[in-house]
Subunit: 339 residues, 2 copies
């Protein structure tokens, strides 16, 4: 086991000072050709690599960015991470991922762990519990300390920071319009509770599209499922109680789950009833029939978040201007709607 070699080791071995070694390895003009070559050769030979921690301490820069998300076993978040990684790595940054598991407390703990020097900035999406409690003090504390934060997807206006979202309202609007354009009149919406910022916006888009087309919004056609877990019964009852010819769901799972129930009732998709979901994941691609969805462009979202964060981290000036980048969702048409 050969331990890592340090500047001090090189200095001792070559009988020069530590400063000389440091400068030589940075190719400083201060050091003579001879000395530089000797030191560089020695460093190469012993595979010297500077200690990141020491550099971090000196520079007060870790080149780490903290990503705090509610869950990772979700296609959307997974693509966002991928986008973040892609941009961050290219810029020489590492990504520390923490999961809040939709819990407010875990979100707070994770942020506190990271905020004490481990990272240069945060990229986050709020846990559902946080959005429910509307308690954003942990975020405010961090920003007040001068640590840059970028919020994506599940955001809040209570915190002054950069934000990246897709236009969820527009997404739902486009999807609903599409269904209306295909002659659907009794369009249901299956969503989560309104405290999730994204669900709220999607519901608004749905309503907007309907009223624009002079279709009245029948509240009984809106099903709100609490949390991510859905039970067969509530969805089943919903379809028994309401006659619908199209359904917009706020995620993939609601969509495939509902489709299955409807198919079991003997309806055929998309002839009798159309479905549109959110998130362009594996499920959408491989469901039977494949899903028409509102694509959220998670990877792009991740890249942009990383870019905004790193820009802030590396910018000298302390200007306190924050931007909100709104991405356009796109409709990916597959077989769960009439072509």
């Amino acid at each position: 086991m050969k331990a890592k070699i340090t500047l001090k080791d090189i200095a001792r071995e070559l009988e020069v000072s530590i400063s000389t070694v440091s400068k030589a390895l940075k190719n400083s003009e201060e050091i003579s050709r001879d000395t530089k070559e000797k030191i560089q050769a020695f460093a190469k030979l012993y595979n010297y690599k500077p200690n990141n921690i020491a550099i971090s301490l000196k520079n007060k820069r870790t080149k780490n960015i903290g990503v705090v998300i509610p869950a990772i076993v979700h296609h959307f978040f997974t693509t966002v991470i991928r986008g973040i990684e892609k941009y961050a790595n290219a810029k020489g940054y590492n990504v520390i991922v923490c999961l809040s598991e939709e819990s407010f407390d875990k979100e707070v703990i994770n942020m506190e762990m990271l905020a004490n020097g481990s990272i240069d900035g945060f990229i986050m999406s709020l846990s559902s519990e946080t959005q429910q409690k509307e308690d954003y003090n942990h975020l405010k504390e961090v920003t007040e300390q001068g640590i840059p934060v970028v919020l994506f997807d599940r955001i809040t206006n209570e915190v002054d920071c950069d934000k990246v979202i897709i236009d969820d309202q527009l997404g739902a609007y486009l999807a609903t319009k599409k269904l209306i354009g295909q002659g659907r009149k009794k369009i249901a919406l299956i969503t989560t509770d309104d405290y999730l910022s994204v669900s709220k916006a999607r519901t608004e888009g749905y309503r907007k599209a309907l009223s624009e087309s002079d279709l009245d919004v029948d509240e009984s056609r809106i099903l709100k499922l609490s949390s991510m877990e859905m039970d067969e019964k509530s969805i089943g009852d919903f379809f028994d109680a309401n006659e619908v010819d199209a359904v917009l769901c706020v995620n993939e799972i609601f969509t495939v789950f509902s489709m299955r129930l409807v198919q079991e009732k003997g309806l055929s998709i998309p002839e009798d009833i159309s479905f549109i979901g959110f998130t362009d994941g594996l499920l959408s691609k491989y469901a039977n029939p494949s899903l028409t969805v509102v694509a959220q462009h998670g990877e792009k979202m991740g890249e942009i978040s990383a870019q905004m964060l790193i820009d802030k981290v590396e910018s000298e000036n302390e200007e306190e201007t924050f931007h909100t980048k709104i991405l356009e969702p796109t409709l990916v048409v597959r077989d769960s709607t009439i072509n």
Copy 2:
């Protein structure tokens, strides 16, 4: 913007030395009650939190663990990360995730970035390119430096370190046996190239089950698809050319994709043909019909990996004994096989 407060700040403000502050905050017996109370109160008031980087430098321990995986947009890896996070966080560790994207070079670069002090140990699954090239020098260098490594799922025997895998051969064996037990005789295998350690083991399990039941292994019934991308044609041709009554696939996507093609040919599942896949992900649960699969228990795998790594990191003794933990796969029976 209130900047972080340091020991030095407290010392200056309270007119004591830095050492006194440090000891007082650790409740050292060396410091008098009065002084401790004064310092602790002050620290609380100004919300003092020690700087992680400084502590890391001092202790030569970062409390970070590096996770290098081939991809993140895969249910299996995603569950492993979750397991790692769960255990690591409970132990006060953070998780730095790096993606190799199945590329050898990226794997090497990521490891080098992290190996210079950023982490206390690695948890990894090899990229396909690495397994193809059979070049493990980057791993060997790291272990030689005394940095603990735990390899999971896609492993190699070339490197001395702890390993966690599921018994892939057994998984395939059980699945194949199950199909045979249901009277299937012409069982196909859809897999990837053999350089992936897991695919190789699965193929062996498949062969073993067949020969044990005196069914001869018809090589034409084994389809090897290169990489993760499959094309409709090669799979279609395969089913045209071979009459099969059951299929074992090495992942979810191959399974649903093949099922679709077979369904389009007018066969019904599981009456005419059965399917079993690997990985118990969302696709399996929501496919139509839902998939019978070999569950890999990714979360458990992650937890065990994290545990093995942290044990090594925190163990004082330098004993060089490595263990390989083999998890038992289980068959999750759903609707793509006869019940």
